[in-house]
Each structure stands twice: as structure tokens, then as C-alpha cells.
């Protein structure tokens, strides 16, 4: 147990990296996911097809494969420096964006169809209908599943450990190597730090869900 308290600085460094990965990837995934969702409901068939293909592909690929692709395959085509923070961010946000898209899309579908028709009928463009009429009404339905997507993201950052980003999992691995007798406690410490991110997010999801239930 002491191994946790003795190595707080190492944990904290890893924890902060995990937090940074989660936040940066989360924001990027949110932006990309919103655009993907807009494409998926757009009146233009090519945009719809593009977004659908992307989402189905990324959603059904293990995250590790996405990392492998970026780190080992993409550089062969002259794309990206392998390894490092931004590679992890790109892999994580590309992967998470697919899930954000699906959460947002189900929210969009929960808004009565007549709302979109009325918006179009008064002369709003597709983008205006979406941003001024549909999305504000979809937010309630979208936030709880979205928080779950971000909780998954926080946990998924651990995959970056395998690709030379020293986040929480990688710090844990180093500590375990240095303290072979205390491996279990080292890992308990790692888990506790992940919980420090995911539990508050879970509580937030619960609060929002209850608020939504009242508002209906």
C-alpha cells in the first residue's frame, strides 16, 4: 500500500497526462462527432455515405488497431511522426468521434420530425435548422450518453501506454517494474486514479439524467 503514497509524484505525472489526453481528445472528438452527425442527417447523399462509412469503420475497429494503424502504417505514407502525445490524441479522437456521432444522431432523431420541417419551411438552411432548432432540443437526450462516451474515452487513454505516451497506465507499468513485490498495490493505485476521473463523470451523468427526467 505504501508504494502508492511513496510514488505520488510519478502517479500524478501519469494522471495529468491521462487527464490531458482525455480533455484534448474529448474536445476534438466532440467537434468531429458533431460534424459527422450533421453529415449523417444531411440531405446530401455523398456526405451521408462518407459519415456512415467512417462511423461504422471506426466503431467496429478495436482501438488498439487504430493506434497500430497510425503508428506503423500511416508513417509509411509519409503521414505523422510516429508515437507521442499528438499521435495518441489523433487515434483517440478519431475513434471516439464515431461514438459521439452516434450519441448525437440518436438525440437528433429524438426531436419531432415536424420541428425540422417547420424550420425548413420558414427558410432556414440545413445548418441553421440543425444548430438553431434541432440540436438545442436534442441536447437533453444527448448529454447522458455523451458522458458515457467520455468515461469510455478516459479509460481508453490507457491504450496509449503501449505507444510510448507516458500516461497513467505507463507510469503504473514503470512503477510495477521498479517494485515487483508490490505489483498489485501499484495497479490498485492506477485504478484509483482512473476512478478519480470516471466516478465524478458518472455522478455528473446521473445528475443530468435526473434533470432531464424532470424537464420532460
Amino acid at each position: 500500500m505504501n508504494v502508492i503514497f511513496d510514488n505520488i509524484p510519478a502517479y500524478l505525472t501519469g494522471f495529468l497526462m491521462t487527464l490531458k489526453l482525455s480533455l484534448v481528445s474529448g474536445i476534438l472528438a466532440l467537434i468531429c462527432g458533431l460534424f459527422l452527425a450533421a453529415f449523417r442527417v444531411s440531405p446530401l447523399t455523398p456526405l451521408r455515405a462518407l459519415a456512415t462509412t467512417y462511423v461504422e469503420l471506426l466503431r467496429n475497429t478495436p482501438l488498439t488497431i487504430v493506434f497500430f494503424f497510425l503508428v506503423f502504417v500511416a508513417p509509411q505514407f509519409g503521414i505523422l511522426a510516429p508515437l507521442g502525445f499528438w499521435t495518441a490524441v489523433i487515434a483517440l479522437s478519431a475513434y471516439t468521434a464515431a461514438f459521439v456521432c452516434e450519441a448525437v444522431r440518436s438525440g437528433i432523431n429524438s426531436v419531432q420530425f415536424g420541428q425540422a420541417e417547420a424550420a425548413r419551411a420558414i427558410g432556414l438552411t440545413f445548418g441553421q435548422s440543425l444548430s438553431l432548432v434541432i440540436l438545442p432540443q436534442a441536447v437533453r437526450t444527448v448529454i447522458p450518453p455523451l458522458i458515457n462516451v467520455f468515461i469510455a474515452l478516459a479509460k481508453n487513454t490507457s491504450v496509449a501506454a503501449g505507444f510510448a505516451t507516458v500516461e497513467l497506465m505507463a507510469s503504473g507499468r514503470r512503477l510495477a517494474t521498479a517494485n515487483p513485490a508490490d505489483t498489485v498495490w501499484v495497479l490498485v493505485g492506477v485504478a484509483l486514479f482512473y476512478l478519480a476521473i470516471t466516478i465524478p463523470a458518472g455522478i455528473l451523468a446521473g445528475v443530468v439524467e435526473r434533470k432531464v427526467a424532470f424537464a420532460r
Binding site: 420541428q115 417547420a118 425548413r120 419551411a121 420558414i122 427558410g123 438552411t125
Partner: protein
């Protein structure tokens, strides 16, 4: 059966004479899968004219309305508004829709916006009007349809009749060239129907061009220049309201009228 004449200069019914052609449908066809919902529709609505569309459920009345502002695409034929053919998607289509007001059976007011915001959203965002100007204009319209005192409320706090009057104000706020009404009173409790019809009658009297899908004979008699009877995706008969309701020519119209009259 007489073919509908779509170029009547003086349609029977009302005494005033509508102007030049504003909405022109020519040989319009539309399918939903195997279902042929609009069959060779020819229809001309003149400036200032009020056309009531009547017919059994499923005859294609809503589809006709929705095709006019391209909420529904058509398979063949042409639709022009004020001489210009309907644009495909994009900004041009959005502009066209601003010229064609639409009132739905289920109101479709924006649920997250106040009554006032419902009316100002289009003018501000689609027409680039200043907020203050849009609000002043919106209040005048709300006054006109008799719901100015509700302007700060959300749609859900209003009665059906009030909501539909707000929906009319919302459409009018775009200063449309023509207004489409798709069964505007059929979702309303009976005691609220007249407050909506009254607004529509006064709109008609002020010279608004209107296409109204409705079974309200009182409205047709008071306000319509022409009644168009649809059945099975076709325009079966066109006549002035008095003539149509008292002496329909086609058997299908006779049959239909006998059914709605016995109700």
C-alpha cells in the same frame, strides 16, 4: 368529365379578380415506392387567389402542399413560383421557402422557443433582419392574430387554437408570396376551430394568395375563389365553392360530399 381548366382568368366564387399566375404546377408526378400519389397534376394559383383543396384521406393533398415548397421532391413535371422553377437543395431553396409560408396540421411551433422567438427566428436568421425590427413586426403580427398577450410563453403553455394562430404569424413574418395550409384546423378542439378560421378569412380578404387543404365548407364558401377536389392522386374536379358544394359534377365528388355531409 370536364378537364380542369387551370388558366381561368376569373374563377367563379368570389367577385374580386385574382392576378397573374403565381404558383404553377404542370404535369407533376410523385411516387412513394409503388404508390402513385400525384398523377399528372396541373394547377395554377393566381396572385390573390384562394384555392381550397378537398378530398378523401390519402388522396395526396398533403403531398401536393409539401411539393409546392419542396418539403417533398417530385418525380416529374415542373413547379414554378412567381415564374421561377423550384431550386434543388441549398441556399436558393431556403430563399424560396421563405417566400412560401406553410402552416401544418400539428402546428410544429419550435418547442424550446417563446412565442415571440418563434415568430422572429425566420426574419432574423433567414432574412438578416435586426432583432428590434423583427420583434416589432412580430408583435404586430401577434396582435393581428390575437395572441400578443402570450408572446413570452412557450408553445406548450398555449391552447391548440392559440398555437395555430402563432404558427400563422410565424409564417406571415417572412412576408411570403403564398401561404399553404395543410388541414390547419383538423387537430383542434371544435371550439377553437373558428378562431383560426377567422384569422384565415381575414387574411384571404386582405388579398393573400392561399392554398388551403381543409374540409371546412364554411371557410371555402366565405373565402375561396375555387375548390379543387382530389381523389387518388388526381385533380378530379375544380369549381367555385357554391357550385362545388351544391352541384358537384363528378360521381367521386358527389360520393365524397355525401360522406362528409352526413358526419
Amino acid at each position: 368529365m370536364a378537364q380542369p381548366t387551370s388558366s381561368v382568368a376569373t374563377p367563379p366564387g368570389r367577385e374580386d379578380v385574382p392576378g397573374e399566375p403565381l404558383v404553377v404546377l404542370s404535369k407533376v408526378n410523385k411516387h412513394f415506392g409503388a404508390l402513385h400519389v400525384l398523377r399528372d397534376i396541373d394547377l395554377t394559383v393566381h396572385r390573390g387567389e384562394v384555392v381550397v383543396v378537398i378530398g378523401p384521406s390519402g388522396s395526396g393533398k398533403s403531398t401536393l402542399c409539401r411539393a409546392i415548397n419542396r418539403l417533398e421532391t417530385i418525380d416529374s413535371g415542373t413547379i414554378t413560383i412567381d415564374g421561377a422553377p423550384l431550386p434543388a437543395e441549398g441556399k436558393a431553396l431556403a430563399r424560396l421557402r421563405a417566400d412560401v409560408g406553410m402552416v401544418f396540421q400539428s402546428f410544429n411551433l419550435f418547442a424550446h422557443k417563446t412565442v415571440l422567438q418563434n415568430v422572429t427566428l425566420g426574419p432574423i436568421k433567414a432574412k438578416g433582419m435586426k432583432k428590434a425590427d423583427a420583434e416589432a413586426a412580430a408583435m404586430r403580427l401577434l396582435e393581428r392574430v390575437g395572441v400578443a398577450d402570450q408572446s413570452g410563453k412557450l408553445p406548450a403553455q398555449l391552447s391548440g387554437g392559440q398555437q395555430q394562430r402563432v404558427a400563422i404569424a410565424r409564417a406571415l413574418a417572412m412576408q411570403p408570396k403564398v401561404m399553404l395550409f395543410d388541414e390547419p384546423t383538423s387537430a383542434l378542439d371544435p371550439e377553437m376551430i373558428n378562431e383560426v378560421l377567422d384569422v384565415m378569412v381575414s387574411l384571404a380578404r386582405e388579398g393573400m394568395t392561399m392554398v388551403v387543404v381543409t374540409h371546412e365548407m364554411g371557410f371555402a364558401r366565405k373565402a375561396a375563389h375555387r375548390v379543387v377536389f382530389m381523389d387518388g392522386g388526381q385533380i378530379v374536379e375544380e369549381a367555385g365553392p357554391e357550385e362545388f358544394f351544391t352541384a358537384p359534377r363528378s360521381d367521386r365528388a358527389k360520393d365524397f360530399l355525401s360522406k362528409i355531409l352526413t358526419h
